[in-house]
């Protein structure tokens, strides 16, 4: 199921690890675009105030500025180290190549010139259809330039350990089961106690409480999670001798 719903794009590096890229959808990109529009208008307005004193030459510089903003504003910002225009930065988006690398000058120029095609037939019609229908959210310019607009996800917070004594698992656990129990402990602070109890009841067999439920069972399941994470309390039961890494 997760394969069907997940829009993540995998980019493999030469070192053999897979970078997960999270393509941005229409709404995030639209907000960023509108924000950039406001920024551009503001720059033009500020320039108009300043250049107004110069008369004809000022008007000319304004026209040149409008030209530069229209075509090269995105290119200039995408080639900085952040790889994002101010609007994209505000909404934590970024332009990268399909490989996860920083966008190259050639690709940035191509994707921004091809806006002309994306704009057709009316107000980015083709771009909107393309972003909505494609799983990787590319508009036509992104397709041709082999670029992606991706989310920069916020850092995952460290697991905040509740004060529960660690308990060794009651049976050998496969790596998947270990991951599930640790993930439950990571989510615990964000769940209501009732929901936490329900979820812990599903995993109760890891602490030898299969079939039971309640706050006590939850504490024991969380205790197993802490044990798996590597906590060894002084007052806990002696750790059982299974080698957890090879449990599967």
């Amino acid at each position: 199921m997760s394969d069907v719903l997940d829009t993540a794009v995998a980019a493999e590096t030469p070192e053999g690890i897979v970078l997960e890229l999270r393509p941005a959808g229409l709404s995030a990109r639209l907000y960023a675009f509108l924000f950039d529009g406001v920024v551009r208008l503001f720059i033009l307005y500020a320039a108009a105030l300043g250049l107004g004193f110069l008369g004809g030459i000022g008007a000319a510089l304004l026209l040149i500025l409008a030209f530069a903003l229209e075509w090269f504003y995105p290119v200039a910002f995408e080639l900085t180290s952040s790889g994002a225009t101010p609007g994209k930065r505000v909404f934590r988006l970024k332009v990268v190549m399909d490989s996860g690398l920083p966008v190259t000058p050639a690709a940035s120029v191509a994707r921004n010139l091809l806006r002309v095609a994306d704009f057709l037939p009316l107000f980015y019609g083709f771009a909107i259809v393309s972003v909505l229908t494609r799983r990787d959210g590319k508009r036509l310019g992104d397709l041709a330039a082999a670029t992606l607009v991706v989310h920069e996800p916020p850092a995952v917070p460290r697991i905040a350990l509740t004060n529960v004594p660690p308990i060794a698992p009651a049976r050998p656990l496969s790596p998947e089961d270990q991951a599930a129990v640790m993930a439950l402990a990571a989510r615990a602070p964000r769940l209501t106690p009732e929901r936490l109890d329900e979820l812990a009841a599903l995993a109760a067999s890891v602490s030898g409480d299969a079939g039971r439920a309640g706050p006590q069972v939850t504490r024991r399941v969380l205790g197993v999670a802490h044990w798996l994470l590597g906590q060894r309390g002084t007052d806990s039961r002696p750790a059982k001798p299974h080698r957890l890494e090879r449990a599967s």
């Binding site: 000319a60 075509w71 920083p102 806006r115 057709l120 041709a144 995952v156």
Partner: protein
């Protein structure tokens, strides 16, 4: 090895790598705050060392070289640790930190820097003319699509001036007529500031036309063909009309020089668009998408060149073409020289190492 143990064993390396990345990118705030939000305190000593180690340029260069070596080594180790952490299904925050740090280091290590001065010179003097020659078939089709309507509509309007109304409105036609009449103020007595203003106007207008001819290629090349033919027909109609009205000397002396850059640039961007359209229609042994990506990256050199040519064209149009006090022979000989230079540049330049 438990997750905590794993983290304790390697987190000094991760912190060092994070500090190195921050130092290399010169970006401190963003990554620091991200790390702090995640509960990781960056290695203070490494950061302080990075700040204090800036006495001389040689020293800086030496540290930068050391940094690069260390960065690569730490990056490879972090990749290995990430693979281990994933295989052992360690908690999300550990994998997340490793993913972040490897992604950032990956970007630094495989970043391609295209814009150095020598490369820019190569791009302009070798890669651009070569790319034009490599696309000569597309250039020929593009030029034909542009020039045929120009001549056909031009002759048609010259022969029957009323046809101009099927291309432009009556007001526009009379406006053009006024603009190029020998007594016109617009051309005759322009001040420096109007020159600048026209420069701004021309640049915007011409670049718009030219990029349209390129981007239209995404629609199987039909867009490029349409915009090329339309702009050709428009130019031809105006030329035919003004010639019929007897304004040929002001008109041709005005357009002769800058058209060498401007029309060539439009034809070249049309050729780039046709290349993209052709890649979509006949991808050969690649998928359509691969073919599109290849075609786009190979035409990017053309686009750089076209942009520069358009800026040159707008400058000539605003500051030289409009100068009416210059005698016609001078204008026409400069125009001939420009045409010869532009064509010669594409035919001859950059062949030495072919």
């Amino acid at each position: 090895m438990t997750p905590f143990h794993f983290e304790q064993t390697y987190q000094a390396e991760w912190a060092e790598l994070e500090a190195l990345i921050d130092r290399t990118t010169g970006r401190k705030t963003a990554n620091d705050s991200g790390a702090r939000a995640a509960g990781h305190v960056p290695d203070r000593d490494a950061v302080r060392a990075a700040r204090s180690a800036r006495p001389s340029r040689d020293d800086r260069r030496a540290t930068a070289a050391q940094d690069r070596v260390r960065l690569a080594a730490l990056y490879r180790r972090a990749c290995e640790q990430l693979a281990l952490a994933r295989a052992r299904a360690y908690p999300a925050y550990i994998i997340d930190r490793l993913e972040r740090v490897t992604a950032a280091a990956h970007q630094l290590i495989y970043h391609r820097r295209e814009f150095r001065f020598a490369q820019l010179r190569d791009l302009a003097l070798v890669a651009f003319p070569r790319s034009v020659r490599a696309h000569r078939g597309y250039v020929a089709v593009s030029a034909a699509t542009f020039l045929l309507p120009t001549f056909i509509i031009g002759l048609l309007v010259y022969w029957r001036p009323e046809f101009i109304l099927s291309v432009v409105s009556q007001e526009m036609a009379s406006q053009f007529e006024q603009m190029y009449s020998p007594t016109a103020q617009a051309l005759g007595r322009r001040t420096a500031s109007t020159d600048w203003m026209m420069f701004g106007y021309y640049i915007r207008n011409n670049v718009g036309v030219s990029f349209q001819c390129f981007a239209g290629g995404l629609f199987a090349g039909i867009g490029s063909l349409f915009f090329l033919a339309w702009n050709g027909a428009f130019g031809g109609a105006i030329a035919g009309y003004l010639t019929e009205r007897g304004l040929s000397s002001t008109f041709y002396s005005f357009i002769a020089t800058h058209s060498s850059f401007e029309l060539t640039a439009i034809v070249l961007s049309g050729a780039a668009g046709l290349r993209i359209g052709h890649a979509l229609l006949a991808p050969g042994r690649q998928t359509r998408r691969q073919a599109l990506v290849t075609a786009t990256s190979e035409t990017s050199v053309l686009l750089y060149g076209v942009t520069v040519m358009l800026i040159v064209a707008a400058a000539i149009e605003a500051f030289w073409s409009s100068a009416q006090w210059l005698p016609l022979p001078v204008k026409y000989s400069v125009a001939a020289l420009c045409w010869a230079c532009v064509i010669g540049f594409f035919v001859v330049q950059g062949r030495r190492d072919d």
